[in-house]
Amino acid sequence: MGQFYSVAFAGLSDVSISQDIPVEGEITIPMRSHIQEFDSSTLNESVQNTIMRDLKAVGKKFMHVLYPRKSNTLLRDWDLWGPLILCVTLALMLQRGSADSEKDGGPQFAEVFVIVWFGAVTITLNTKLLGGNISFFQSLCVLGYCILPLTVAMLICRLVLLAKPGPVNFVVRFFVVIVMFAWSIVASTAFLADSQPPNRKALAVYPVFLFYFVISWMILTFTPQ
């Protein structure tokens, strides 16, 4: 075996880089295309391009929430546009029509905002303290996007409330809200539970349950008078 090696590599022992063989060539740094794109293209493109790209990203994440599979898209490139749109829509739909709505017991626009964002921040703090390896904004992103089923429930409830009020009305709304509530919890658990070790998943899911319960309660007790 040793002889084979000495025969095969015999010629290499007298390779030398002497002065009369010029070492020439080009050391070119290959262009890192994504830095190029980062530098110039997002500043120079038209506004329509930017908006369409952001809208497509938001739409893609909506699809991920509606059909929750274990994927990293929501976590990897998080954005907060979707949660903002959903929160504003929900808060607007929870408004009553009357102008003198001071003591009617419904949430004001700002109250919905405060409840949603405060709740999301609290859940994120809890997840981080329990030792999860998810960043602050990723968690906010996931929780905000998973409000989508409840926003759909709010839409359906408003449509159902156009019919005549009664116990059937209430049962239908109750059923819709319960289904969407379960969907929200399943969707957010599919993303958040991976960040915790298995003996703590229930501890991280419980505040999420409370959060969506509060929002569902606000939706269910909404009456448009």
Partner: protein, 310 residues
């Protein structure tokens, strides 16, 4: 081995092999590995293929943005800016750590589901539990995950939030709900908790007790009563006033026993903790303090919930 290679590598016989490694890289696929030790400022000049030569003068031939980044002054500005950001973050972290000791808080959240289940059971039924001593491991207490007697902050925090929401629910069923009442309940419960903690700390200071009872420990112990309150209010919602009084009475008795057995080990001296009654004014004072703290719990539990159940 090549003699000149060895001569150049004075004192480091591994130098020749180190020089060979870049040559053997297949096609120099990843430039990042080769140029890792250059400053980040230079690696940004990728837009211009011949970045090192004629930095300012090659601006005409390349795109304006790349030339902007290839300009040495802006390179330096970017490097300075990023170092400033890193320094700022460090400063903020250090100052936050002074007021909210995050690493200490993490100890109190090192729980798992089984611990939470067992602790909730202990809070409701503490009569059969024998050993209340917290286990230590080389001078530091063991994490709550491994010892059911260790205090944690997950249960009190979650119980507090659940109590505020359940209070909102209870007021809603009585048609007295509005969302700002949630905030009001939360802040009043928080105020009572702060008052309790301050009162106990003051008494501990006045009686000059040397305990290892930290403030966070105290907050954790005082937060355990919210579990009983939630149970009482939920039963009151489902079964009326009778159910509320029954469950609240049971939870008051169990939290009283729990507090006495836990605080006895922390506040009283070692001898008294064994159950042997030791004479002496100091130990009696400590016993009174423990009894006072334990009695305050059921009173507060009733005070904060009786308005919610009609």
């Amino acid at each position: 081995m090549h003699p000149t290679g060895l001569a150049a590598a004075a004192g480091t016989p591994r130098q020749p092999s180190k020089r060979r490694i870049p040559v053997s890289q297949p096609g120099m696929a990843d430039p990042h590995q080769l140029f890792d030790d250059t400053s980040s400022a230079q690696s940004r000049g990728y837009g211009a293929p011949r970045a090192p030569s004629g930095l300012g003068y090659s601006a005409a031939s390349t795109s304006p943005q790349a030339a902007f980044l290839a300009d040495p002054v802006s390179n330096m500005a970017m490097a300075y800016g990023s170092s400033l950001a890193a320094q700022g973050k460090e400063l903020v972290d250090k100052n936050i750590d002074r007021f909210f000791p995050i690493s200490k808080l993490k100890y109190y959240f090192a729980v798992d589901t089984m611990y939470v289940g067992k602790k909730l059971g202990l809070l409701v039924f503490p009569y059969m539990h024998q050993d209340w001593e917290v286990q230590y491991q080389q001078d530091t207490p063991v994490a709550p995950r491994f010892d059911i007697n260790a205090p944690d902050l997950y249960i009190p925090a979650m119980a507090f939030i659940t109590y505020v929401l359940v209070a909102g629910l209870a007021l809603g069923t009585q048609d007295r709900f509005s969302p700002d009442l949630l905030g009001l309940q939360a802040s009043s419960a928080l105020a009572w908790l702060t008052l309790e903690v301050l009162a106990i700390l003051l008494s501990l200071y006045l009686v000059t007790i040397n305990t290892d009872l930290t403030t966070i420990d105290l907050v954790a112990f005082l937060g355990y009563k919210y579990v009983g309150m939630i149970g009482g209010v939920l039963t009151g919602l489902l079964f009326g006033k009778m159910g509320y009084y029954l469950v609240l009475g049971w939870c008051c008795a169990s939290i009283f026993v729990f507090m006495i057995r836990t605080l006895r080990l922390k506040i009283l001296a070692e001898a008294a903790a064994e159950g042997v009654p030791v004479r002496g004014a100091r130990n009696q004072l400590r016993m009174y303090l423990t009894m006072a703290v334990a009695t305050a719990q059921p009173l507060l539990m009733y005070w904060l919930t009786f308005r919610l159940v009609r």
